[in-house]
C-alpha cells in the first residue's frame, strides 16, 4: 500500500510542476506581487466597508481591455464612473449637457468660451481649475490623435480661475458635443505624466465618484468611493467590475447572485432574468446602437446600382430587426439614425419586395440560364458574401436570415462570420456591424458624414466608410453645416444627406438597439443610459 501511495503522491507532485514552471523568475515575483496587491485591494475595500458600512457593488461587463488613462483611447474610465468629461451626453435628449463644465458660449465662429465647475478635486486632492483643464486638453491633443483630429484646436487660453477659451482652426459649431469624447476626460496632466506609463492609478489623476485601486485588463477593475466627490458622497463603498465576455455566463452570474449588474443582456437572457426572482432588466428608452450592413462598392458586385437596389428589396430588414432586436430591446432602423436624433418623414428606404428585386436583377442582365436556381450573367453566377463578427450576437443571425432571403431571389449567398479586423479586406459584399450613432455629441450631421467617410467640415477621410462609398454627392450638402449651429438647421441638412445615402442604398441599416442591463432588485438609483458611455454614476447604490 505504501508503494501505491508513493506513486499516487508522485502523480500529484507532477501536477505541481505546472505551477513551478513559470516562464521567468521576474515573472513569478510579479505574479506574486500582483496577487498580494489584489489581496490588499480587497482588504482595504473591506476596511472601508466596515468603517462606513456601505456595500460594494459587483458588475459584469463584456469588455474590460482599454487602458485607464483616457488619452490612450480608454473608454473604461468614463464608463466605470472613474473619470468625467466637460460635457456629458444626456440620456433623454441625446444632446450635450454640462458636467465638469458649467456652460459653453459660441462667442465667434472659431472661438468658444467654457465655464469650469467650481469645487472639483482630482483624486489626488489637487484642485481642478481652468489651468488644469487647459493642461488636460493639451495633453489629450498631444497624446491622442483621435482627440486632436476631432477638436482641431488652435489655442487654449485661461481667462480666469473658472473660464477657458478654445480657439479652433476650423469652424466648430458643435464643440460641446465633441468634448464628450472619453479621451478628453479631464485628467491631472502633471500628475499623470509624473507617474509615468503603467502607473496611472498611483497618479490619482481623475475626478469621478469612484477611485480605481486595482486594474487587471480583461479581468477585473476595483474601485473605492471618492468621498470628496463634487456631486456628493456616493452610497457605495466601491464598485468591482468583472470582465465576463460570454453573454450566457454574464446572465447566469446575475441570476446566481454573483454580480449585481450585468451590462448588455440578450433578448432571451432578458426574458430569463425577468422571470427569475430577485432580478429584472432596465432598458434605455432610446436605441442608439445601430446594427447595419456596410455595402462594399469596391468588390464590384454591388457597385452596380441595379443589383444593389435589388439586394435592398430582397432582404426583409424589418422582419430581421424583429428577430435581432425584438420590442423592448430595439426597433427597426429604416434609416441610419434613430428618430430621437433626427426624423425625416419624407425619406423612405427601399422596402421588402422580392418581385421588384427579381425585376431589377433581370434589368441588370441576370437570368438563370443553366436552371440551377442561381442567376448568372456571361456565365458567371451572381454570388455575394455576407460578413460579420461573432461577439455581437445579432450579426450571425442577421447574416443567416438574409442568406435565405437572397437565395430566394436567385442570388447565391455565403456567410463569413469572422474576427472583425478583416473588415477592410475586400472579401465581403455586405458586412454586419454594430456601433453607436451618438458620436460627436449626437449631432446628426456628424454621424451621417462619419459613415460616408467625411469630417464635420465635409473634408474627406474623416472615418469609417468601410464600403468605399463615393461620397462626392454628399460634400455639397454637408459642407455648409460648418456655419449652422442651430439644431433645426442641422437636422434639415442631415435629412438631405440621409435622402442621398438611402437612395444610393449606400448602407443597409437593420435595427437600432437599446442598451439592456440586467439588474438585481437590490440595486437602487440605477440609470439605464442609452449608450455604453456611462454605466454608473454617484447615485447608484445597493440596499441590504
Amino acid at each position: 500500500m505504501s508503494h501505491s501511495l508513493r506513486i499516487l503522491s508522485s502523480v500529484l507532485a507532477l501536477l505541481f510542476l505546472l505551477v513551478a514552471c513559470t516562464p521567468a523568475a521576474p515573472g513569478t515575483t510579479s505574479a506574486g506581487a500582483s496577487a498580494e496587491s489584489a489581496n490588499q485591494g480587497s482588504q482595504s475595500a473591506a476596511v472601508a466597508d466596515a468603517a462606513t458600512e456601505r456595500p460594494t457593488l459587483t458588475a459584469g461587463v463584456i469588455w474590460l481591455d482599454s487602458p485607464l488613462d483616457p488619452v490612450e483611447g480608454g473608454y473604461v474610465s468614463t464608463q466605470s464612473a472613474l473619470s468625467e468629461t466637460l460635457f456629458r451626453l444626456s440620456g433623454t435628449t441625446l444632446s450635450p449637457e454640462p458636467w465638469l463644465a458649467t456652460e459653453a458660449t459660441h462667442v465667434a465662429p472659431f472661438i468658444w468660451r467654457i465655464g469650469i465647475r467650481e469645487g472639483v478635486k482630482f483624486h489626488n486632492g489637487n484642485v481642478m481649475d481652468a489651468q488644469a483643464v487647459k493642461a488636460s486638453l493639451e495633453r489629450a491633443i498631444r497624446l491622442s490623435p483621435a482627440a486632436a483630429d476631432t477638436l482641431s484646436v488652435d489655442t487654449i487660453t485661461v481667462e480666469d480661475e473658472q473660464t477657458i477659451t478654445i480657439k479652433t482652426t476650423v469652424e466648430q459649431p458643435t464643440l460641446p458635443g465633441l468634448l464628450i469624447l472619453p479621451a478628453l476626460a479631464i485628467t491631472d496632466a502633471a500628475a499623470a505624466d509624473a507617474a509615468g506609463e503603467g502607473n496611472f492609478i498611483a497618479a490619482g489623476a481623475l475626478t469621478g465618484p469612484y477611485i480605481p485601486i486595482e486594474y487587471t485588463p480583461k479581468e477585473r477593475l476595483d474601485s473605492v468611493s471618492n468621498d470628496d466627490y463634487w456631486g456628493g458622497t456616493p452610497p457605495l463603498a466601491g464598485i468591482k467590475h468583472i470582465a465576463i465576455p460570454d453573454t450566457n455566463s454574464r446572465e447566469l452570474a446575475l441570476q446566481a447572485g454573483d454580480i449585481d449588474v450585468a451590462i448588455n443582456v440578450s433578448p432571451n437572457g432578458a426574458q430569463a432574468i425577468n422571470a427569475h426572482q430577485g432580478t429584472h432588466t432596465e432598458t434605455s428608452g432610446i436605441g442608439t446602437s445601430l446594427v447595419l450592413w456596410w455595402v462594399n462598392f469596391e468588390r464590384g458586385t454591388l457597385a452596380d446600382p441595379l443589383v444593389r437596389r435589388a439586394v435592398a428589396h430582397a432582404i426583409d430588414r424589418e422582419s430581421i430587426a424583429g428577430l435581432v432586436a425584438p420590442p423592448g430591446s430595439g426597433s427597426f432602423a429604416e434609416l441610419l439614425l434613430p428618430d430621437a436624433l433626427v426624423a425625416c418623414p419624407g425619406v423612405n428606404a427601399l422596402g421588402y419586395d422580392p418581385d421588384a428585386a427579381r425585376n431589377l436583377l433581370a434589368q441588370a442582365g441576370y437570368a438563370d440560364s443553366d436552371g440551377d436556381g442561381i442567376l448568372d450573367k456571361d456565365g458567371q453566377p451572381l454570388e455575394i458574401i455576407i460578413g460579420g463578427y461573432p461577439e455581437r450576437f445579432q450579426l450571425p443571425i442577421m447574416a443567416e436570415a438574409a442568406q435565405a432571403m437572397l437565395t430566394d431571389v436567385g442570388i447565391k449567398t455565403e456567410v463569413l462570420i469572422t474576427e472583425w479586423s478583416v473588415v477592410k479586406e475586400p472579401a465581403w459584399d455586405l458586412f454586419g456591424w454594430y456601433n453607436t450613432v451618438v458620436q460627436g455629441g449626437g449631432d446628426p450631421v456628424f454621424n451621417i458624414s462619419k459613415f460616408a467617410g467625411l469630417k464635420g467640415d465635409a473634408s474627406g477621410s474623416g472615418t469609417n466608410n468601410y464600403g468605399h462609398y463615393d461620397a462626392s454627392r454628399l460634400v455639397d450638402i454637408v459642407a455648409p453645416s460648418t456655419s449652422v449651429s442651430d439644431l433645426e438647421g442641422r437636422k434639415d441638412i442631415a435629412c438631405e444627406a440621409l435622402a442621398v445615402v438611402t437612395e444610393d442604398a449606400a448602407f443597409l441599416p437593420v435595427a437600432h438597439v437599446n442598451m439592456v442591463y440586467g439588474v438585481s432588485d437590490r440595486v437602487t438609483g440605477f440609470q439605464a443610459h442609452p449608450t455604453s458611455h456611462y454605466f454608473f454614476d454617484h447615485r447608484v447604490g445597493l440596499s441590504e
Binding site: 500500500m1 508503494h3 501505491s4 506513486i7 499516487l8 508522485s10 502523480v11 500529484l12 507532477l14 501536477l15 505541481f16 510542476l17 505546472l18 505551477v19 514552471c21 513559470t22 516562464p23 521567468a24 523568475a25 521576474p26 515573472g27 513569478t28 510579479s30 505574479a31 500582483s34 496577487a35 481591455d65 487602458p67 490612450e72 483611447g73 490623435p145 483621435a146 487587471t216 485588463p217 480583461k218 479581468e219 477585473r220 468583472i242 470582465a243 465576463i244 465576455p245 460570454d246 450566457n248 455566463s249 447566469l252 452570474a253 441570476q255 446566481a256 447572485g257 454573483d258 461573432p390 474576427e419 479586423s421 478583416v422 477592410k424 479586406e425 458620436q439 472615418t463 469609417n464 466608410n465
Partner: protein
C-alpha cells in the same frame, strides 16, 4: 539509466528549438497585418492610414526579414521576454505567469478529483470483473467520455448556481468558486483514467508474479492493493503528459464559460483578436511545460519500474 537521462536531456534543446520554430511559423502563416490589427485595437472607431500602418510595422519590428524576426524573438524569449500583448500592451511573460496559477489550481483540482474517483472505482471494477458494479462503472466511464464538457458546464451552472443557489456560477478566489469548473473539467479525464486503471489492473492481475504472490498465500486483498495497484498506476504516470494536454484543452472551454482567469481564457481571447504575441508565447510555454512533464514522468517511470530499464520503454507511451 544514466545514459537514457543524458540522451533525453541532450535532445531537449533541439526539441525546444523546434517548438519555438513551430510556434513562430504558425503565426506567420496567418493572414492579416498585425500592425493594422494593433492600430485598430487602439482606436476601433478609426481606420488607420497606410502611413500609420507603416510606422507601426517599424515599431513592432515587422519590417525586418523573417529569419531576423525569429532570431530576435528567440533571443528575447531566452531572456524571459516574450514580447507585449497587442491588445493590453502588457508583457506576455507576466500575463502567462499570472494566469498559470489559476489554471494550475483548476487542473490540479480536476485531476485530483478525477483520480479520487477513478482509482478506487477502476480497481474495484477490475477486481470484480463482470459484476454489476463493473458494468455500471464501465457504462459511467463511457458516458463520461462522451459528454461534451460545454453542455455539462452550463448544466451545472443552471442546476447548482441558478436553481439551487448552492454555489457561485463563476468567479475566482474562493474554494466554493472552484467546485463547478473543476467538476466540469474532471469528468472526461475521470472517465479515461477509470478505463485506463481498470485495463492495466486486469492486465497486471493476469501476470505471472501476481500468480506467484497468490500462490505464496497472500490474500486477495493484499495482492490487489499492494502489488497490482502499484503496477497498474504506472501507465497513469506514463500518460501524465497526455492527460495534462487533455486537461489544458478542456480548460480552454471550461474557463471561457466560468470566467476563470486562467491560461485557457487568455488563449481564446487572444486567438479571436489575433493577439499574435500572446498566442505565440502561450503555445511555446505550454509546449515546454508538457515537454518537461513528459520528461519527468518518463524518468519517474523508469525509477519506479525496474523492468523498463531493459528497453521496454515503448510500452506505456501512447
Amino acid at each position: 539509466m544514466g545514459a537514457y537521462l543524458i540522451r533525453r536531456l541532450a535532445t531537449l534543446p533541439l526539441l525546444l528549438l523546434g517548438i519555438s520554430a513551430a510556434s513562430f511559423a504558425l503565426l506567420n502563416l496567418a493572414p492579416g497585418d498585425p500592425a493594422e490589427i494593433v492600430l485598430r485595437q487602439r482606436n476601433p472607431a478609426q481606420l488607420p492610414s497606410s502611413a500609420e500602418v507603416a510606422a507601426m510595422r517599424i515599431e513592432l519590428g515587422l519590417d525586418a526579414p523573417l529569419p531576423v524576426q525569429y532570431t530576435r524573438w528567440v533571443s528575447r524569449a531566452l531572456a524571459g521576454d516574450l514580447g507585449q500583448s497587442y491588445v493590453t500592451e502588457q508583457p506576455v511573460a507576466a500575463q502567462l505567469a499570472r494566469r498559470t496559477v489559476p489554471t494550475a489550481l483548476l487542473t490540479a483540482a480536476a485531476l485530483a478529483l478525477a483520480l479520487l474517483v477513478a482509482v478506487p472505482i477502476g480497481i474495484l471494477s477490475a477486481r470484480r470483473r463482470g459484476s454489476s458494479l463493473d458494468a455500471v462503472a464501465r457504462l459511467a466511464a463511457l458516458v463520461g467520455a462522451a459528454a461534451p464538457s460545454y453542455a455539462l458546464a452550463y448544466g451545472l451552472i443552471i442546476l447548482f448556481a441558478v436553481k439551487l443557489s448552492w454555489l457561485p456560477a463563476l468567479g475566482y478566489g474562493s474554494a466554493a468558486q472552484m467546485i463547478l469548473p473543476a467538476a466540469a473539467l474532471s469528468l472526461a479525464p475521470m472517465a479515461q483514467l477509470m478505463r485506463l486503471i481498470r485495463a492495466s489492473m486486469l492486465e497486471t492481475l493476469g501476470q505471472d508474479y501476481i500468480r506467484t504472490a497468490r500462490a505464496k498465500g497472500l490474500s486477495e486483498q493484499t495482492v490487489a492493493t499492494g502489488h497490482a495497484l502499484r503496477n497498474a498506476l504506472l501507465p497513469v504516470i506514463g500518460a501524465m503528459g497526455v492527460h495534462l494536454g487533455y486537461l489544458l484543452s478542456g480548460a480552454v472551454i471550461v474557463e471561457t464559460i466560468f470566467t476563470w482567469p486562467g491560461l485557457g481564457q487568455l488563449i481564446v481571447g487572444a486567438a479571436l483578436t489575433r493577439d499574435y504575441p500572446v498566442v505565440q508565447g502561450f503555445v511555446t510555454y505550454i509546449a515546454v511545460v508538457v515537454l518537461l512533464v513528459n520528461l519527468v514522468a518518463d524518468v519517474a517511470l523508469r525509477v519506479a519500474d525496474p523492468r523498463l530499464r531493459f528497453g521496454r520503454g515503448e510500452r506505456f507511451r501512447f
